[in-house]
Amino acid sequence: MQIDWSHFTPLPALAGGVLIGLAATLLFLSEGRILGAAGILGGLVNPKPGKWLWRLALIAGLFASAPLAVLLFGAQGPVINLSATPLVIAGLLVGAGSRLANGCTSGHGVCGLARLSPRSAAATATFMATGFLTVFIVRHLLG
């Protein structure tokens, strides 16, 4: 393993993580809810009465963060080097997988680990492992 020092950005990464932690704190303190993007989106995909307003508001905040990040620190939009078919397959897998596992990188990976949940630790270890494996196969075996 070699560290790619030219792309390694520990300080912005840590600061970004702190903001995400504060977001989770704010949502839990005000609404008593866990900050998990898949669950929040999932609740809109299959909405229940009275349970969608806060989800919509949070997703509106995620959208609005993009132009704000451009203004504040010159953030750039995502550069996606993937054609439509694999992108759709990836989206299907992420959607189906997070629905089956009841959580994603934020719900299990951040909030679940912070709650010391063994279930979330198992989910996080699993998706990290298959993520590492997938990139290894795509970049080093097929690529």
Binding site: A13, L19, G21, F28, G61, L87, A90, L113, T130, R139
Partner: protein, 150 residues
């Protein structure tokens, strides 16, 4: 008692969440893939994002654990599920494959839509379809999850 508007607090949480993802580089699929590529030039940045987020949230959950209700009077909706079963591990495994293919997970894709990225839109539509597919296939066999982990 509503101290914070039920619309404003989640909006601000989403805003902070998205700013953190942008600052941490997590809205760039190449950055995420750089973390997941252990055998290439490895970029450990994502681990620092996780470390920052988990430590703040750890303190917050510890501090708030004794409360029964949120500031707005809502019951604290902590996930009750504890089973480590095939559904959890299989789902997480599929999730990781999709994550490793695209370098996108749900929240960064939603922020990507804020950047008006057509790729992010396509990914989100596919993600929603994946969720609907699971719901359609599991209405018979699986009980409705009362509380979501996320």
């Amino acid at each position: 008692m509503k101290i914070l508007s039920p619309f404003l607090a989640p909006f601000l949480a989403g805003l902070l969440f998205g700013l953190g993802l942008c600052l941490g580089g997590m809205t760039q699929p190449q950055k995420v893939l750089g973390f997941l590529d252990l055998a290439g030039g490895w970029d450990p940045s994502l681990a620092f994002v996780m470390a920052g987020a988990v430590s703040i949230a750890f303190v917050a959950f510890r501090f708030l654990a004794g409360r029964e209700r949120s500031l707005n009077g809502a019951p604290l909706a902590l996930p009750q599920a504890s089973a480590i079963d095939a559904r959890l591990l299989g789902g997480a495994a599929l999730f990781g494959i999709g994550w490793g293919l695209a370098g996108f997970c749900p929240a960064p894709a939603l922020v990507g839509l804020g950047f008006l990225s057509p790729g992010a839109l396509l990914f989100i539509v596919a993600m929603a379809a994946g969720m609907i597919l699971v719901d359609a296939l599991s209405t018979v066999s699986a009980p409705e999850p009362a509380t979501e982990d996320a």
